[in-house]
């Protein structure tokens, strides 16, 4: 467990949301912002500074890389001149990191449910 955590440390909220957006397909920067907003029903909006700051870190660590524009991404286009934009894709390491984070969150949710159940039983 510890070695797994050292290999894939917990992700920040912005990083998790960017990786989740890219898990659905290759996107350009503005596409990521739109996808993150859509996934959170508009409650979480990334600013361009936060987005590219995190994208740079993710690219430096090999979790995200450049991708050619795909047809599926074009279908989800939000602006014109899509072809000129730089697209990003999840690497295999990125998918592994996202899967590890989802597993970690799953454990947190399981523990939280268990604690809440105990608290309810204690009160009753």
């Amino acid at each position: 467990m510890k070695s797994e955590t050292a290999k894939n440390p917990p992700l920040s909220s912005a990083t998790l949301n960017i990786l989740l957006a890219l898990a659905g397909g290759n996107l350009h920067g503005y596409g990521i912002i739109k996808e993150v907003a859509r996934n959170s029903d508009g409650h979480y909006r990334l600013g361009p500074g936060t987005l590219y700051d995190n994208l740079k870190k993710l690219m430096d660590s090999g979790l995200v890389s450049d991708a050619p524009p795909s047809s599926s991404s074009k279908r989800r286009s939000v602006t014109t001149k899509e072809d000129d934009r730089r697209f990003y894709t999840l690497t295999k390491e990125g998918k592994d990191a996202l899967a590890a984070e989802v597993d970690r969150l799953q454990t947190v949710v399981t523990q939280a449910r268990s604690r809440l159940r105990e608290a309810r039983v204690g009160r009753a």
């Binding site: 920067g29 503005y30 409650h43 909006r45 500074g49 936060t50 590219y52 700051d53 602006t79 730089r86």
Partner: protein, 140 residues
């Protein structure tokens, strides 16, 4: 804030980023600013840009300072040169203006106190005009 002035301020913020970062992402960030500033508001975007600038500058603190001024690159030595002071002054002013704009928004702060396991938790919610929320929680 006037659209042209805000765009100029954002471009200035981008110019203050490390050269490699601007070359790689500057054009895209400006494009997103143009697309988003009507919907999200200028102040949150300026604040976001200023925070990004601080992060990038902190990250390259150990490297020799590289400042990008309008059309070229100036290599500076360690310490506080006049350019770096000017850079800091402009950045601070932009952050200050952005904060004033954010704070002038009605219903910005919501403060609530709740009890969790007999320990009071103070929850401060910062509601920005763009519906972004920053929640700070403290347990004394």
């Amino acid at each position: 804030m006037n659209s042209m002035v805000s765009r100029f301020a954002y471009r200035l913020l981008l110019r203050l980023h490390p050269v490699s970062f601007q070359d790689e992402f500057g054009a895209e960030m400006l494009w997103i600013f143009d697309e988003e500033h009507q919907q999200a508001g200028v102040a949150p975007l300026l604040l976001d840009g200023a925070i990004s600038l601080l992060r990038q500058r902190c990250r390259i603190q150990s490297d020799p300072g590289q400042l990008s001024i309008t059309s070229g690159t100036i290599i500076t030595g360690p310490g506080l040169g006049p350019l770096r002071l000017l850079q800091g002054g402009i950045t601070f002013s932009l952050i200050f203006v952005s904060l004033i704009q954010l704070l002038s928004h009605p219903n910005l702060f919501t403060v609530s106190v709740r009890w969790a396991d007999r320990v009071p938790c103070y929850t401060l919610t910062l509601q920005a005009p763009s519906h972004a929320e920053v929640v700070l929680e403290t347990t004394p």
